[in-house]
């Protein structure tokens, strides 16, 4: 569920008995202790204040907030139903698509693997607003390009309507699929391929092998990926906001947002909604933990090294190739094209000769002349790099504790680092503003509060990357360094980190990329002069023009793609090795 199980380092003698105080003051204990304190603080304090302000009214402890939030005519039941339907649907779609792609990528000799990689990651880079806006232009029942150019000529009327729950599920699912893809690629690579080969040798068809061997064995990975997708959908507010409102579909996040807009802010009600969300997410966690209880039985990572050998697709190869291209076009090319097209217009209109005549780069000019554009870019880069660095630093140490020692309380640490996953972004933003309004330190209103939010949010992802990197190292590597006389710090710095560097770097890049598009907590925490690119986009969406919004989006995608390619060049493999 959290970090992959791995052979324990044999540093059992490392933790001194409780009585000896001097033994505790080593650099290792200080660093490790500091890391634990920080992670604990980041994970717990916001929740504590959220609870406090939800349950405290003018007269002390009260549960009135829940009545305000869920009672009366708030249609809470319908809201919950919508939220669950949306979350489950998108999680399922993302999982199916992501797993299918991961299987093709890792296990078969499907063509166009480079394209796979790009197709799988680009949706990760595009911010949710833009992705959704692009799909509006593609699949709106009246002006949707797909409806008008494809379906109307063939069927006589538009077929798809993005402003519906299935539409929301489609957009959110596709947007999340890259994350599922990355997770499942890692899972496939960790699975001994001879388990499937023996199925083939026993006479089973490919489908039978998939059904009876591969999927059951992947169950823990599938469950943990499903949980992640579920929580991310629950907390999504761009997709339900843009697509749900139009047909009256309200979810948790739309209600939280509504409550936060009034003055004076009903923090209690907002907190009550947030806690409701948390409760559902926590239930999901428990369910997934229960489903993976037979974890040991599914341990498929053997002691010996092996390389996955690709399944020969044979006759199916051209079909798979075709499907890949269609997928790539549908999920990457089309939305991007729509964005580029929109960014060149003065106001959005269906493609026509006239429209082409009015195309210009005015919107881009406007973006560059927007005073906050440069500030936003600078802030985004600064925040992204800092957050990525801090997250990987903390999680490298934390995963070392969890994976390679038997220190008391390491499971608690694992759980703490995992908790922010379950906290929706809006909720986190809310909680953090509660906390830092009271703190005398100059955090509120600076970039620091955004940094804290990002670090908290991405801790779980960092743990995943750092944890699997640490887990693959054999204990003897550390031990030999110690025997040679190296201190803990030196061993950590010069042996462990360099060896785990590939995984750590992959995590660093991931956090950098997703921090650029983070919106839900940012929107509550930014201040003048501290805008980031996602805020710029949101501002354009709320108060600017679609066309300028599209221009900002195109620029942002270009910047991030460049960043990723550069990092990729430097040998960071984001979970996708080239198989031979």
């Amino acid at each position: 569920m959290t970090v992959a199980p791995a052979p324990r380092g044999s540093l059992r003698a490392g933790w001194p008995a409780a009585g000896r105080l001097r033994a505790w003051a080593t650099p290792r204990t200080l660093v490790v202790g500091g890391c634990v304190v920080i992670i604990g603080y980041l994970a717990v304090v916001p929740l504590f204040y959220l609870l406090h302000d939800t349950f405290t009214g003018p007269g002390g402890f009260t549960t009135d907030a829940f009545a305000r939030a869920y009672g009366g005519n708030t249609q809470a039941g319908e809201m919950m139903r919508n939220s669950l339907e949306f979350a489950v649907g998108s999680a399922a779609l993302a999982l199916v698509v992501g797993t299918g792609l991961a299987y093709l990528q890792v296990r078969t000799d499907a063509p166009f693997k480079g394209l796979f990689f790009a197709a799988s990651l680009v949706p990760l880079i595009i911010p949710a607003i833009l992705y959704t806006a692009a799909w509006i232009f593609l699949a709106d029942p009246d002006i949707g390009l797909l409806n008008n150019s494809l379906f109307k000529p063939i069927f006589g009327h538009g077929l798809i309507d993005v402003f519906s729950i299935p539409g929301m599920i489609w957009v959110q699912g596709l947007h999340l699929a890259p994350i599922a893809f990355l997770l499942m690629v890692a899972a496939f690579r960790a699975m001994d391929p001879s388990l499937e080969e023996s199925g083939l040798m026993s006479g089973a068809s490919r489908v039978q092998v998939l059904r009876r061997i591969t999927v059951p064995l992947l169950r823990p990975a599938l469950i943990s990926a499903a949980l992640l997708m579920f929580v991310q959908s629950l907390e999504s507010f761009e997709v339900p906001g843009l697509l749900g409102l139009q047909n009256g579909t309200y979810v948790f996040t739309s209600r939280i947002y509504f409550v936060l807009r009034t003055y004076p802010i009903d923090f209690g009600a907002a907190g009550a909604y947030a806690l409701g969300l948390l409760a559902i997410a926590a239930a999901g966690v428990l369910l997934s933990a229960w489903l993976s209880r037979n974890r040991r039985a599914f341990q498929t990572v053997g002691g010996k090294a092996f390389r996955p050998r690709p399944v020969d697709l044979g006759r199916a190869r051209p079909w798979v190739g075709g499907l890949t291209i269609i997928y790539f076009i549908g999920t990457v090319v089309l939305p991007l094209l729509v964005l580029v097209y929109a960014s060149l217009l003065k106001f959005y209109t269906a493609p026509s000769v006239q429209a082409v005549k009015t195309m210009s780069f005015d919107n881009y000019r406007q973006v560059f002349h927007t005073p906050i554009a440069m500030t936003a870019l600078k802030n985004s880069v600064l925040l992204g790099v800092s957050a990525a660095t801090i997250v990987m630093l903390l999680t490298t140490i934390a995963s070392w504790i969890v994976v390679r020692t038997n220190a008391p309380g390491r499971r608690l640490l694992d759980l703490l680092a995992f908790t922010p996953l379950v906290v929706p972004g809006l909720v986190l933003g809310l909680a953090l503003s509660f906390v830092y309004l009271r703190t005398p330190l100059p955090i509120y209103g600076t970039l620091l509060i955004l940094l804290i939010s990002y670090v908290t949010r991405y801790l779980p992802y960092g743990m995943r990357y750092a944890g699997s990197a640490m887990g693959q190292l054999s204990a003897e590597l550390e031990e030999s360094a110690l025997v040679c006389g190296a201190s803990w710090g030196t061993t950590f710095r010069r042996i462990l980190v360099p060896l785990a560097s590939s995984g750590i770097l992959a995590g660093w890049i991931y956090v950098l990329v997703v921090s650029f598009r983070e919106l839900s907590s940012t929107i509550l925490l930014y201040s003048p002069g501290r805008e980031v690119l996602s805020v710029l986009i949101w501002e354009q969406y709320e108060n600017g023009q679609f066309t300028v919004l599209a221009a900002v989006g195109v620029l942002m995608v270009a910047i991030l793609v460049t960043l990723v390619l550069v990092a990729y060049r430097f040998g960071a493999r984001i979970g996708v090795n080239t198989d031979d």
């Binding site: 023996s198 092998v209 039985a297 341990q299």
Partner: protein, 411 residues
């Protein structure tokens, strides 16, 4: 005596009287496979030169034989086995089992792995951890096409039978993960055998077991194979395993078959230095042919002359390498008979042993034998003796070697 020099090309093996005549169970001909581009680059970078993983490999396996592919890592034995299994696609050649063509590059025939009806035991056993012992073994029966699939009772019977044969009957309901290493190995075997395949493929099945278990499993496997009349292709890098179990061994190096023959033949009459060195331990001595006497020849070495009986025909003056197994060398401490120095005074004809003088330089007690290192002049020979005979270093000894046991290894 028969010509033991089975060469690298399969045609010579066809002349071997031990070759299965007519209906072979498995016939592999001209099998080729090159590494993919990425692997080629890596191998070149690592200083390895071979570009072909499998280079024109041909052999036949008779029904009831246990045929072993033996060689160091990277020699292509596993690739060959997996090509027979259908898990890898070769670049050329043909493969047929029981007369049925499974792969033919020329005629573009390639039967998918799951339709070849072969049994395979993987190196890691590949036991499915989410199924019980029974379910693991029942799986191949459950995925048979509908018309061939036995009913529920039929499956239970057949599975029960196979589990009994592999002594796992009492563990049928246990989760497969709760088995010991040896039991897992037998489970893998049971699963491979339940469909009664014509051919069983085994990919280093014993390498994960500890030494003692390995030894006992060797006998077990061999017994099962004989009792059930199985035809098997066995891949291993452990030469003692190959010698113990095989009907015939094919020694492979760098993608080619270097020698095929019965274990004894391969052991006693290696056709090249590689085989001689790879199988067992041997002593190499270089020399020149000084005289020929019928089917014996006298080879002049830097430390004395040795008579060699048998062996391929050579010309006087040819440089040759001699290979002598440690157990073919015996040592005598009592200065009994025989003049010092000089080659075998033994007259021509007969098999009077070669006699040399030397000094014991080192010895090691191995429990079931004692190894001595004896210096005869410049060369050091390694000898294996009965543990009762333990000679202290520094002692002068007489070294006796039977001319029959000296093998002439071609250059």
């Amino acid at each position: 005596m028969t010509d033991p020099m089975s060469s690298t090309v399969d045609t010579a093996a066809l002349d071997h009287p031990d070759r299965p005549a007519g209906n072979a169970m498995l016939a592999v001909s001209g099998l080729c496979k090159t590494y993919s581009g990425e692997k080629q680059r890596r191998r070149r970078a690592a200083g390895l030169s071979a570009v072909a993983a499998v280079d024109e490999v041909s052999f036949e396996v008779a029904p009831g034989e246990l045929f072993t592919l033996l060689g160091p890592s990277g020699c292509g034995k596993t690739t060959t086995l997996r090509s027979v299994a259908g898990l890898e696609r070769p670049d050329g050649g043909t493969i047929s089992v029981g007369g049925r063509v499974l792969y033919d590059a020329g005629r573009r025939v390639n039967v998918p792995a799951n339709r070849r009806r072969l049994g395979m035991v993987f190196q890691s056993y590949a036991i499915w951890p989410h199924l019980s012992v029974f379910a693991n073994v029942a799986f191949p029966l459950q995925v048979l096409p509908r018309r061939e699939r036995p009913g529920k009772q039929g499956i239970e019977q057949r599975v029960g039978r196979v589990l009994e044969a592999t002594e796992l009957g009492h563990l049928a309901d246990r989760p497969a993960t709760k088995l010991s290493g040896g039991q897992q190995q037998r489970l893998a075997l049971a699963r491979a055998l339940v469909v009664e395949p014509k051919l069983v493929l085994l990919d280093e099945p014993l390498s994960n077991l500890d030494a003692k278990l390995r030894e006992s499993m060797r006998f077990e496997l061999k017994r099962l194979q004989r009792e059930l009349g199985l035809t098997a292709v066995y891949v291993t890098h452990d030469q003692s395993e190959a010698l113990a179990m095989s009907s015939r061994i094919a020694v492979m190096q760098a993608g080619r078959i270097v020698q095929v023959g019965k274990p004894r033949d391969v052991y006693e009459h290696p056709n090249c230095a590689f085989v001689a060195d790879f199988i067992g331990i041997t002593n190499f001595i270089a020399g020149t042919v000084a005289a020929i006497d019928g089917d014996r020849c006298r080879v002049q070495t830097v430390d004395g002359d040795l008579w060699v009986a048998g062996g391929p025909p050579v010309a006087v003056g040819a440089t040759v390498t001699l290979s002598i197994r440690p157990e073919a060398i015996s040592l005598r401490t009592s200065p009994a008979g025989g003049s010092a120095g000089g080659a075998g005074t033994g007259s021509a004809g007969g098999t009077a042993p070669n006699r040399l003088r030397g000094t014991v330089v080192n010895r090691a007690f191995l429990g079931d034998s004692v190894d001595h290192v004896v210096a005869i002049g410049k060369t050091e020979l390694r000898n294996r003796s009965n543990p009762a005979q333990s000679i202290a270093p520094g002692t002068e000894v007489t070294v006796l070697v039977d001319p029959d046991k000296v093998a002439l290894v071609p250059e």
